[in-house]
């Protein structure tokens, strides 16, 4: 059994803070099923005044276009409020999806959380 296999069909989001940065750690897959939850979480944070959000995909299995749309919406929302969205710890499949979709060029992607928090 692969690790990601156990997370099929469900997703858990853990939120922690580092200074003024909110760090969201995704566990599971970000697809049509789970993206509404992710959307709700992100909106709640931004609406609550958060301007610096780091999404950690270390434990994400895969992401589909539904998940990409959630990220796109959040990034646009923060950009308009002079905030910023950063992403870190992408596995190969997610990295490939980001490359194919062109998201690699429009979102700030970092190898790990430490790099991402540097200068945030």
């Amino acid at each position: 059994m692969n690790e990601w296999n156990k997370k099929v069909g469900r997703m858990r989001i853990t939120i922690k803070s580092a200074n003024d940065v909110k760090i969201l750690a995704f566990e599971g897959n970000l697809d049509t099923q789970t993206s509404p939850d992710a959307q709700a979480q992100l909106s709640q944070l931004i609406d609550g005044g958060e301007r610096k959000i780091l999404v950690n995909f270390a434990n994400l299995g895969y992401i589909s276009s539904a998940g990409l749309r959630v990220l796109l919406a959040a990034a646009k929302q923060l950009l308009a409020a002079e905030g910023e969205l950063r992403v870190c710890d992408l596995n190969d499949v997610v990295k490939e999806v980001f490359d194919i979709s062109g998201f690699s060029t429009i979102l700030k992607i970092f190898d790990n959380e430490i790099d991402a928090l540097d200068g945030f």
Binding site: W4, V8, G9, D31, T32, I63, S65, V97, G102, T105
Partner: protein, 761 residues
């Protein structure tokens, strides 16, 4: 003795020697005046009359018109010459008439003068008694009667000088001895004038009697009573003087002068009349010459008008029309008409253009028909060849891909592939001679013959031998087809093939090494009945590809007429761009199109690739299948099921995740958009793993929808401009190796292929 001379009086009519000339002159003058009046008539009646005359002339042929003008010009010129000659002659006559008048008056005057001289000498002799005066008296009479020669300078004061100087000194008797009467006859004095002279002579008798009595009285001789002077007496000069100065003498003298005066008047009147006629003639001729010159001028003006209006203007119109027609305007007509040469030319010209236009219309129609027929032929051609790929998505043993790019005119390519039975697959590529409907029908016959024969004949040699006999037997059109046919055992990869006059195909070994199948097993199909074709066998190993094509590929030409050539094809096939059947076909067609550039494609381009994926027996094939309802909540069952299958088959987790993304994207699409009703539908997902090739197919019974036709999003635009949507299919396309769509009668099938590279990994 005072006679006027004995020369006979010859009455002569006035000079009429030029009567015929005068008549023709009158005729000419009449003609000239008529011309003049006609001309004035034209001027007076103005344009209508001119137009009427012009139209009657205008209806004539041009050469007749020009001939008419030329004739008129010649006639008028001749008239002018005659007038000039006549004028010249009239001038001479006028001069002659003046001379005649002068001479006549001189003669008449000489007559009167001589009469006075006689009286003068008679009186002098009587008074002086000098003998010389009597001699002078006799001389005057002798000269007048032509008995003595006429001295030079006799007119005028000859005798006055003689009386003063005695004998006329220096006077020479140069003149001939011609009587005055004779000289008058020479000058053609009139009969009536001579009658007057005769009368004068008669009247002079009285005068002569008196003078005789006077002369004799001086000599002392007197009349004896019988008229003879024989009675001698004493000379009596006084009597003589009384006689010559007496009233009787003066009366007789006056009486004799009367007819002489009338004679002078007559001469004067006659010669004046002659002179007047000559002067009138000269004036008339001058007028006639004016008229002739004016007529010539009018003729020239009319001629230039005819040349300008009837020739130059219409020739210009014709040239203009010809120019425009030359530019392709076949609807243009000159409109030049008439009975003359240019009118006939104009009508003929317009008629010719009409025929040209008709012919062009016919040619255009024929071309349209030919285009239409070619279109029908292309339609038949394209309906005969299989166009849906992959044609057998469930078969994992091979992949086959083909393309036919029809040319606009020449064509006749075809390809075909079909299962003969469960394990034998037939592929063929051919090129029919000719084009249009006949070629398409011949192609249909050829394809039907191949397929029907192949169902129970596994020898390509046998199939083509029989087919050739069938086609050649009744081949009146002498059509033929080049053909390569192969039957492949899809379990073993063994190939039986026959090449009937077709381009040698290639075998692309896995990795790119090429092998050319050079053997030709016979001539083109349809050339000759009774030919026996051969066949060859070879083996395809896993990953090997059979590459068939027609000469439209290698003989494709660029704008500079260079051939695409087999070298370019070989280089392309050897490269990594031709690793799969679809890639090899697409790369070839793209390379040929790029090579041609803008040049028109001259022949059909046909490429077919068959790739052998190896024996995938039931034992070595893993299959997975799941059926779900059209609800979003069902997607999880697919991903979970597929993950288990992938886990079981050792498919890498990354590959499985990519397929799960694909399921998320594609199943969402199907459920959201494929159904127009609210009913429950089934979606079938199946996966086949054959060695390193994972094929997943999604079947749905929704409305026709090809997700591959959705335009890819712009993945390079900045964040602010990014719009959601269209991203899903783009992602899937990027994540798998092959993605294809096929529409069935009752549903859609999307096939995803991923080549696993587990050995390398």
């Amino acid at each position: 003795m005072r006679a006027l001379g004995d020369a006979p009086i010859v009455p002569t009519p006035p000079a009429r020697g030029s009567a015929p000339v005068e008549q023709s002159f009158v005729a000419l003058v009449v003609a000239a005046i008529w011309c003049y009046h006609s001309f004035s008539g034209w001027v007076a009646f103005g344009a209508p009359a001119v137009k009427c005359a012009a139209s009657s002339i205008g209806s004539m042929k041009l050469r007749y018109q020009l001939g008419l003008f030329l004739t008129a010009t010649i006639v008028m010129s001749a008239v002018a010459v005659v007038i000039a000659i006549l004028h010249h002659r009239t001038h001479h006559r006028q001069v002659a008439a003046e001379q005649l008048r002068f001479n006549s008056i001189l003669l008449a005057d000489e007559l009167r003068q001589s009469s006075d001289d006689l009286t003068k000498f008679a009186r002098l002799f009587v008074q002086t008694g000098e003998k010389r005066f009597e001699d002078y008296f006799r001389q005057v009479l002798a000269i007048r009667n032509g008995e003595l020669p006429r001295p030079e300078g006799y007119e005028g004061i000859y005798w006055d000088r003689v009386v003063v100087e005695g004998v006329a000194k220096g006077s020479k008797n140069a003149g001939a001895a011609v009587s005055l009467r004779e000289r008058m006859a020479q000058l053609k004095f009139a009969e009536s004038e001579f009658a007057l002279l005769a009368e004068a002579q008669v009247r002079s008798d009285a005068l002569v009697n008196i003078e005789n009595r006077a002369f004799n009285a001086v000599r002392g001789l007197f009349d004896d009573g019988s008229g003879n002077f024989v009675r001698r007496g004493k000379p009596d000069p006084e009597l003589a003087q009384r006689l010559l100065y007496g009233d009787d003498y003066l009366r007789a003298k006056a009486f004799i002068m009367e007819p002489i005066r009338r004679f002078e008047e007559s001469v004067n009147a006659r010669t004046t009349a002659l002179l007047t006629v000559a002067r009138n003639e000269a004036a008339s001729l001058m007028w006639a010459s004016f008229v002739a010159t004016g007529s010539l001028l009018a003729l020239l003006v009319a001629l230039s008008a005819v040349i300008d209006r009837r020739v130059l203007l219409r020739a210009g119109t014709l040239a203009d029309a010809a120019g425009r027609i030359g530019e392709g305007r076949l609807d243009v007509r000159s409109g030049v008409r008439g009975n003359d040469e240019l009118g006939i030319l104009g009508a003929t010209f317009d008629d010719m253009v009409s025929r040209l236009e008709e012919n062009l219309n016919l040619v255009t129609a024929a071309k349209d028909r030919m285009e239409y027929e070619l279109g029908v032929g292309r339609g038949i051609q394209m309906s005969l060849v299989p166009l849906i790929f992959p044609p057998f998505p469930a078969r994992e043993e091979f992949s086959v891909y083909a393309t036919l790019e029809p040319a606009r005119e020449v064509g006749g390519d075809f390809y075909n592939f079909f299962f003969i039975d469960e394990n034998r697959f037939c592929v063929c590529v051919g090129d029919v001679s000719g084009k249009g409907v006949p070629a398409a029908l011949f192609m249909a016959v050829a394809m039907t013959l191949i397929k029907s024969r192949a169902t129970d004949d596994l020898s390509t040699a046998s199939i083509l031998t029989h087919m050739n006999d069938e086609v050649s037997a009744d081949n009146r059109e002498s059509m033929f087809v080049t053909l390569f046919i192969a039957i492949i055992d899809i379990r073993s990869g063994e190939v039986v093939f026959t090449n009937a006059g077709h381009n040698p195909p290639y075998v692309r070994r896995e990795g790119g090494a090429l092998q050319r199948l050079d053997t030709r097993h016979g001539p083109v199909i349809g050339a000759m009945e009774g030919m026996v074709y051969g066949e060859d066998r070879m083996n395809l190993r896993i990953g090997d590809m059979l590459f068939l094509y027609t000469d439209g590929v290698t003989e494709a030409m660029d704008a500079r007429d260079r051939l695409f050539s087999e070298e370019r094809l070989v280089a392309l096939l050897e490269s990594g761009d031709a690793a799969t059947a679809e890639a090899a076909v697409d790369a070839t067609v793209s390379a040929v199109k790029a090579f041609e550039g803008g040049a028109e494609q001259t022949d059909d381009i046909t490429v077919l690739a068959f790739q052998f994926h190896g024996v995938a027996g039931k034992a070595t094939q893993a299959r997975w299948r799941v059926v779900i309802k059209n609800r979003l909540s069902e997607i999880a069952a697919v991903t979970e099921g597929f993950e288990r299958f992938a886990d079981d088959q050792g498919i890498p987790a990354a590959v499985a995740m990519k397929f799960n993304i694909a399921f998320d994207e594609l199943l969402n699409n199907v459920i959201a958009y494929a159904y127009r009703d609210e009913d429950e539908h089934e979606i079938v997902i199946q996966a086949v793993l054959s060695r390193e090739r994972l094929t997943v197919t999604i079947f749905d019974d929704g409305v026709p929808f090809n997700p591959l036709s959705v335009k890819a999003p712009d993945t390079q635009s900045p964040l602010e401009d990014r719009e959601p949507g269209g991203l899903g299919v783009h992602l899937v396309r990027g994540l798998v190796d092959e993605l294809s769509y096929r529409r069935y009668i009752d549903g859609n099938a999307l096939t995803l292929v991923k080549l696993l590279d587990r050995e390398a990994a």
